[in-house]
Symmetry: C4
Subunit: 456 residues, 4 copies
């Protein structure tokens, strides 16, 4: 997008984005591994150590990389690509020390310094928890996805909640197992009461028990086959349950939000229909009128007419004009009335145009009404009818590109015909007065239009 200094990457760079997404995958591993290693460290869990070191290496690389990534200044909206400024911003922030602390392999460093000694294993297990700091990347990813219209908001939100829930279940399960493992009397623990030799069972079995207990508590099922036995477990359990109230409420709140938002359109449609039915029954309107009202409203929701108007309203004039040119210029140019008229005039006239949909069998113009508008038929077809001696007579049918109502407007007489849509039709409505004002400065074009009108 912009010219950046050499060796400086834009934060929007596609490859950098991919790298970041890759890191999120590693974060998921870290988030899973850190509590797991703490809990099952002493139960021969195989060499996850190498995987950990590789993951750490990736994050170490990202720390270095960050010094070469430009950032967006919040007040000026400019990308800052000055190495010094980038470095100062990163180091000053809380991010740098935390990133560093969550990446350094403390245990290995300690072993290098102090020689082989596994005694402090517990301490490093806790230090590994610092890697959970990396979870902020997941949180950032989700908040970016929530603003990305290519991704469904509901899906993003549900995924986020699922991740939070799974992490809470996993983390607490691991801590709970750790508590049992390090209790002085294994028989007096939640798991020891059921499985006396749990320390010598497989990791898989222990992990299943932990997860099972954790989720049974989180969902408040609470079968009771596993429950806190000693005081430490009770205290821990109390805090977990307190947290769960909040989490459950948060999940329900989010779900409610999604449900409410997803049903807004349905409610709007149903309410509109109900109002019409109520109105019709209250005023004793005949079936024909009621059906016309319903058909019209149904069409409006199908074509999202209201939304279209909103979209246009909020746009600046220039864009709006551009859209109108694109949509109506060709149609207008080809109508008989505007043949040979200058491009300038048509552009001018077209800029304000809006198309309306009419369902089938709807009166667009009523015979004898005062002429206020004339119409250009964009799609569909309309019938022209005349009321003679009290009965309607069909005169002719019009196809796209025709105009209706222009006779009344030009001669300023009551509309001589009734115009009724044959099937779903789209028409451009042109205001009488507005049109006259528009023609004024274009003398030549005005004459051309009148000539066209008389010939036609």
């Amino acid at each position: 997008y912009f010219d950046l200094k050499k060796y400086v990457i834009a934060p929007y760079d596609r490859r950098y984005r991919l790298w970041q997404t890759f890191l999120v995958v590693l974060v998921v591993y870290s988030a899973w591994a850190s509590p797991f290693e703490l809990a099952f460290r002493e139960m021969s869990i195989g060499s996850m150590l190498i995987a950990d070191l590789v993951v750490d290496a990736f994050f170490a690389f990202d720390i270095i990389l960050t010094f070469f990534v430009a950032y967006l200044d919040k007040s000026t909206y400019f990308l800052v690509d000055d190495h010094k400024k980038i470095a100062i911003r990163y180091v000053k922030h809380l991010f740098f020390p935390m990133d560093l602390a969550s990446t350094l392999p403390f245990q290995q460093i300690y072993q290098l310094i102090a020689g082989k000694s596994h005694d402090r294993g517990e301490v490093f297990g806790f230090l590994n928890m610092l890697r959970l700091w990396r979870l902020r990347r997941v949180s950032e990813l989700f908040s970016r996805l929530e603003k990305d219209i290519r991704v469904s908001y509901s899906v993003t939100r549900v995924c986020k909640l699922l991740c939070v829930t799974l992490f809470a279940v996993h983390f607490t399960g691991c801590v709970y197992f750790w508590l049992a493992f390090h209790h002085k009397s294994p028989g007096n623990t939640w798991i020891g009461k059921q499985v006396e030799d749990f320390k010598h069972r497989s990791v898989g079995s222990g992990y299943t028990y932990s997860m099972y207990w954790s989720i049974v508590t989180l969902t408040t099922v609470g079968y009771g086959d596993l429950h806190a036995e000693n005081t430490t477990e009770k205290v821990f359990n109390i805090f977990y349950m307190l947290f769960n109230i909040g989490l459950t409420a948060y999940i329900i709140g989010n779900m409610t939000n999604l449900v409410v938002h997803s049903s807004v359109r349905t409610f709007a449609m149903r309410d509109a229909f109900n109002k019409i039915l109520q109105y019709a029954s209250k005023n004793g309107l005949p079936e024909g009128l009621k059906d016309q009202m319903l058909a019209h409203t149904q069409l409006k929701f199908k074509t999202a007419e209201l939304q279209q108007e909103e979209v246009l309203q909020d746009l600046p004039k220039a864009i709006r004009a551009g859209i109108a040119q694109h949509l109506f210029h060709n149609v207008v140019e080809k109508t008989n009335l505007f043949k040979g008229v200058s491009d300038d005039f048509i552009s001018q006239m077209v800029s304000d145009m809006k198309a309306e949909y009419y369902p089938s069998k709807v009166d667009i113009i009523l015979q004898n009404e005062m002429p206020a508008y004339f119409y250009i038929l964009v799609s569909g077809s309309v019938d022209v009818l005349i009321l003679k001696n009290g009965s309607e007579q069909f005169l002719f049918k019009l196809d796209p590109g025709s105009m209706v109502g222009e006779i009344g407007v030009m001669f300023n007489i009551p509309q001589p015909y009734t115009v009724r849509s044959r099937r779903l039709s789209q028409l451009i409505r042109i205001d009488h007065h507005h049109f006259k004002q528009l023609v004024k400065p274009f003398n030549e074009d005005g004459k051309a239009i009148i000539t066209n009108f008389t010939q036609f």
Copy 2:
């Protein structure tokens, strides 16, 4: 509705709709039977086989039928009745292979080919699960009902949630029973711990246990009399509980949505009243005024006046005019002032009319106010009063069809009378200026009106 090719059915055809609804009933059976047969297959469940085959036959027929049903093109809104196009669309889609797979009686086919051999029963139990694909029909039915104004949205939604819940309970119960039945040590299963000989008990008893456990878990009651014993059950239970969080949140979200929507009107009414009470107390208004304000607002909510205006606003001019003709043409025609006036003029005038409700004892016109409107009484009755020497004197009472305020308007003098509603009255309000402009092009009618006015 439309002319379709021979042997092609419209998707809106009443009989086709009925057929579809009938199929949904069969789907309900399939959804219940598939998991049930899987779980209780080895416990002599009688010959559900025949029922299954009959149901399959119906669905096989529907597959064939689908090749003869026209479809609606999403972009042109036209019904496509070309056999080739219908076939291509259906076969290309995921629907056709899935429909087929969920209909073929694999077990019977296998037996035909391989001869009698019941060894692979388990496999066919799982293949039968493909029939659950048919559930999409239920989902489609519900999404159609949600848009159907003849059916209550709340009822539809609650039914849908109930169906989802029941299916979840049934499905999980069956799977859980299957897990227990196929575990190597029956005593170490959730049901075996309580009922050692569960394999030899009745199907009904087993099914009750399964459903009971399933719903105790879903509702998070978790008595604990039945709970996961072995690792497989624990893992399955974990996923079920995770799913339940989502389902519960979804149910609550939907219920909240319905409750919120159903109370919108009540809140609107209460808020309106509260605002009036607050306003009246803050400004120290006398009781009389406060009561008038309350009565007016109450009436507005009763007659849904605001809603009526909304309904009209969104309709195209032609329909609006049609409604006004229906409601007011007769009333206006019969008033003294418009006797003998041309039908055209009345139609013209009536098109823009709107009726307003006034509660009893409300001043419609105040003596000495500048004349801006005159009124035609549609229903109810009004009193005409005059203020003389500081006290109000009753002049006369007017009944439907009368006009009020026209003297002030015609002579352009301050209104000579106060007009007050006697009881709930409906009046048409006609704008002074608008009326004058309307009369202009109708010379004859203008004269007739003046004649009427002077005579009357």
Copy 3:
């Protein structure tokens, strides 16, 4: 309210209302007693029979009374007091037979006919359940209270939910006890497992157990000390739990609705403030301006200005004029400019007036601005300042009843002074053009005003 036939009571009659409320109290007794008697019938519960008969007598009297209560015709909004019509409407309805069936003391009638025989006790226990039909009265009471602005909506709603919950708990508890009592092997029931001789314990103990089990299940606590033992109990429990999902969701939905509604105002206020802070910081506005903006907005929320305007907007012109007269007539009359002016003119002018609040230290008029409005001070006080040689000089202070800005308006010159509020002040703003137009028809008054203006 209206003249009714003799021996016909209006449904709005105060005494009839009291009677209805008294009946609701009896309904509460019935709702409690019917399931209770069914469950504990065989455990010497003392003679509730007499109480039941007395209650039945009251309801029997109400059935008779209903034939003498007028009803409101839904379409004409008239009270119908014709005996025949009232009777037909009541008898045709479902209400009459149900009312009758829920009132007849079947057991006593049966005993009268068939002689003493207690064998069919169970049947009559179920027949007594018909009395629960009376609960419709409670439901009607709540739906009336929800629309009554004298009663808090939240309180009504919470009470309703509490009633529903308590009834569900009580009813299910009783049914559950009945199931245990009538099971063939008392030891194999939910209560028998814990209390073997439960049939010979006190009614209070049995009732406590029932209620305890019922609510432990409803709230999904599910300790597990009591749980379904036999199949019948399991099946019943399944349905109760299904019902509980719905009830819980309904309770949460209602609570959410109340919480959301109660916080609307707070959110509106906080959002308004936040927007101002954001705007000020984004545009780098000086502190002084920011504080003025905040003070103004705070005031607006305190005085509920926006709400006041809404209230007025929705009222018909006549009421609005009445309010304005009440609020401003006295103030305007006493200002110097309008001394000796006719009452008609003042009434006319006052009808459109609106008062605005200004916080302290806010500029109402800026020196040199084009005169568009002048103001009458209703309450508070304002300073008049002049800007000379770049510094503001204090000229004088004005008290309620004074006018400001009228000089600029009369001579049509830029405002010669700055006017600033001293403390919270209320001013009437009068539009320049509107005022001129108003004066036109009142020649005498116009002259008086000009005389006043020159003198003053």
Copy 4:
């Protein structure tokens, strides 16, 4: 703020506020200590007595202090500093007797009067519960914080819910322990069943058990390891569970409210984008137009343009003018066209100005459109282009302080150039007609502008 009588403190006094906040801390202690002392009184809990007396002393001092604190009259908005009135208001209120009752150390007074006698310990334990009256201060603090924009609403609300939950858990836990402690057969209590000698265990252990049971019930986990044993416990438990339904629903309701409110902005943005995408695809707009539409909308959300307009709309004219002066006076003064123009005129003109943001590459003026506005560039830069022989030619670039479109406006000819934004630019738009009307009364300035225009 105001001059108060000697020895009278304003309620807004900073030091008084601090004192109040300090009292809230003491309230938290009281709320914790009162139920705790009741439950564990007989289990040597050390001398909390002294802490209690000290806290009581502080509250006693506050009672005295309250007689010296002015209060705000609700109707006049004035501070009342009259000692007599303050005293009457406080004593009349419920507050004074309750404050007094919750502060008097009844036990110590009784001991002074009746001599040493610890027999009535229980009674004083209950009397101590009166101290919970002090909780109203916490409630007041929260309702003040909810209106304070310096504090996050979500945080306040979550804290409040946490406090309520913790208090409920603590209070019920203590009462439950009290029930067990005073039951006649300790073995038949919820805790005695598990820990027979619970009366002789440590206070910590007993408290943990109580809290654990309490929260297991509140969250409806209900493991079942602890549950009600005797009737008293069952009855108490029933009421606690009933209360919990309400509390849980309230927590969920609040969380939902916060979630819904926090996502309003995101939904608004996503909906706007979706509407544009839908509109573009439905009308087959080219990519270029679609991107312009998206860029514009994104910008609008970034700059919160809509919000800014809302903020301004709701402010009184004088403040609005002040803001406009601050933002635009300098810019306008420096443009060529307004050099040497009087300060009055510029002030006048500036008061109504509003700035608009344009994203990069957007047409601000289209060649040949009728001149309705001219623009002053505040920030960013724009290109001036001309369409010759069907291709656009770049003429020149304009920097902040320049004007565009003024030629068309001055000569009233179609705009001779297209003006397109180069990058994010802010422009002031000035309406053609409005400007002309503004110039009228300023003859000198009008001439100066024309001179500037011709020179420039």
